[in-house]
Amino acid sequence: MRLGASPADDAFRAELASWLAAQLDGRFARLRQPDFNRNEFALLRAWERALGEAGYGCIAWPAALGGRDASLTQRVIFAEEWARAGLTPRPNHIGIELLGATLLAHGSDDQKARFLPPLAAGTEFWAQGFSEPNAGSDLSNIQTRARLDGDAWVLDGQKVWTSWAHNADWMFVLARTTPGSRGAKGLSFLLVPMRQPGVIIRPIRQMTGDEEFNEIFLDGARTDAANIVGAPGDGWAVAMATLTFERGVSTLGLQTRYRRELDQLIAAAKANGRARDPLLRHRLARAEIGLSVMRANCLRMLANIDRGTPGREGAVNKLYYGSWHQRFGELVMDVLGRAAEIAPGPDYAYQGLPKIFLQSRADTIYAGTNEIQRNIIAERWLGLPREPRG
């Protein structure tokens, strides 16, 4: 058990940090301006291509698929340096972390060869099509149907909470391929091109004022018959694996982002004098401790995943960080005071720390509400009996 980095790791960190600094002082400086908006898709696509060209696209993957076989420590370093540079989350997170890991585990060789190199090169962006209006917490209640029509799947239905769909080239979709099936049976995991007439995107405005999510209407959308991961009807198992990957190494990036947010808040508290308020001091110290615990838990989770022995520490991770971040959002407002309520411009558009107060309400909902997380922990990891269905 050891936290220190090897000289090779230190060298990797130095090389990466200097590359990032050069890019972010130059062509990609806008990426870390406070008012940078993630709707600026062209810049984000260019940035992912630049990462790919520099060999930083998907460092964990085998070299043959565009990666560089990075060790766990190097992946940790990548996540840390990314956040330390002031970057927002990886724009193609869904493609790289979720679809990438899913294909590595369950994809055919053809699918890996077709879809993974463009991810590493930063040329194809992905969206996730799991949730539906009546399949949120109860994801197995999916109604979207897909039927094989000659050499293509044809999809009809509605997806919701799809992030950044306008920027996506492809979407992986959970759809019902066995007519009349119910629950987790009869679902398949399909890869569907976004840019076709049968895919209609309607943005959803959030309480932050942003339009980050979308509703997707699938109206006869088509994809090649080969674009199914796993066998027809095995979609549930594939999708559950995908959701597990969601709580993988990317949470370390999250943790590092939170580190930056906390550092900003500490600086603000010192600047406005509230760091001397004993109650806020106490809460800032508790936030620091909570974040440190989160880091400890992430590192343990990753080490165990890396050894192939994932444990309860991974199962509880999202519950922990979601709750931490929500409390942090409240602390932000207490430290900044009423000034934080005033928008920086003429639109309802909050940035930086104050936005966290609003945005973090989603942290206990997305990717499985806290209630679902607790069910999963209790039933899958603690062996408690399931509840009767209605």
């Binding site: 917490s137 004022g209 207490d334 005071g337 005033i342 928008a343 909902i365 209630e371």
Partner: protein
């Protein structure tokens, strides 16, 4: 002792419930979000016609001679209906500030157009940070009159008020405050309404650049003004708690509806204890906050300054906790849909936040309670 509504209070509550059901049905708040005024003038006129503006003013001052309980009844229904109106600004703050500081004749004269609804008035009682009586405006002698410099923050309905009552520090006596009034077009006065997180609680930021103030516009000065204004703020704080109770009740009702109707895993989500028990906790917050708000109103009405301070402090802290918890829970119970702009959950969440900060934070209120408890 009889800690329940009188028949008259029950009738007033029924009237208020009916009023807001007619004028601010579910969904009406949407129109306010993009609205320069931030309130509906027709609803305001209707409320004026109900005669509620002078509910708690003495009859000698042109009011109905009722009390804080009656005022709280109105505010609770307004909060439940998400209906922004300059009622607290005009009747709960400005009118009381006049009554508390001006000579009787002058007060009657100033109050008449406020109570008749002819004008909207407000009180600028906070400084830039939005904390009551921590002022950033200073009044100093200037020739035969005065000049006002500095700023005031988070002035309720300051952007539409026809008359602004301003609390300011007295340059000649750093320990004293004074109250003066300005017209919105007074030279040197800048009134700005920035976009705020809670679009349903319009507040203005005021700047004073050498605003000339004639002696007649200065209502009160001297050592008693601070205490008088503190009483005004304390009463308004209790009324805000009543508004919070209404908001929390709306949260509970929305969440109950959703929990009964939304199906997951083959049954209404309200049958799962995770949701069901959260709703029970919300009900606990709503009911205890309601008890606290009316208890505080009675205490304040029947007691002395200390009782008022105690009541305001206790009501503020618990009302803020209750509404904030209920509003957060409402989003959580609704899931993704509760996070969208189209759903009312975020309006309530933001109302809960702004209400909890009105006149100062809950932490500051606890500090004040500790002082009242003489925890030296």
């Amino acid at each position: 002792m009889d800690f329940a509504f009188t028949d008259e209070q029950q009738m007033l509550q029924d009237a208020a419930r009916g009023f807001f059901a007619r004028h601010a049905p579910p969904g009406a708040a949407r129109a306010r979000l993009t609205d320069a005024a931030g309130y509906d003038p027709a609803t305001w006129r209707a409320l004026v016609e109900m005669g509620w503006l002078g509910l708690d003013l003495p009859e000698a001052a042109g009011g109905l001679g009722l009390g804080l309980v009656e005022m709280a009844i109105i505010l609770e229904q307004a909060g439940e209906s998400l209906c922004p109106l300059p009622f607290l600004a005009s009747a709960g703050l400005a009118a009381r500030a006049v009554l508390a500081t001006a000579e009787a004749d002058r007060a009657r004269q100033l109050l008449a157009p406020i109570l008749s609804g002819e004008i909207i008035a407000t009180l600028a009682g906070c400084g830039r940070e939005g904390v009551a009586l921590q002022l950033d405006a200073t009044l100093r002698r200037d020739g035969g009159g005065f000049r006002l410099d500095g700023a005031a923050g988070f002035v309720p309905f300051g952007h539409v008020a026809d008359m602004l009552f301003i609390a300011a520090r007295d340059a000649d006596d750093p320990s004293a405050l004074c109250l003066l009034h300005l017209a919105p077009d007074a030279p040197g006065l800048t009134i700005d309404r920035p976009v705020q997180m809670d679009l349903l609680r319009p507040e203005a930021q005021l700047r004073f650049d050498a605003v000339a103030v004639p002696p007649a516009a200065v209502l009160g000065a001297g050592p008693g003004v601070a205490a008088a204004l503190r009483r005004v703020i304390d009463r308004a704080t209790i009324l805000t708690t009543a508004e919070q109770v209404g908001g929390a009740q709306r949260c509970l009702d929305l969440s109950l509806d959703h929990a009964r109707q939304r199906i997951a895993f083959g049954r209404p989500i309200g049958s799962f204890q995770a949701i069901k028990h959260r709703l029970a906790d919300m009900a606990m917050q709503v009911e205890t906050a309601r008890s606290a708000a009316y208890y505080a109103a009675c205490l304040a009405q029947e007691g002395d300054d200390r009782a008022l301070a105690y009541a305001a402090t206790m009501a503020k802290v618990h009302g803020s906790d209750a509404f904030s918890q209920c509003a957060g829970d409402t989003i959580q119970i609704h899931g993704g849909i509760g996070f969208t702009w189209e759903h009312d959950a975020h309006l309530l969440f933001k109302q809960a936040h702004s209400a909890s900060r009105l006149f100062g934070s809950s932490d500051a209120a606890c500090q004040r309670m500790a002082d009242l408890m003489e925890l030296a």
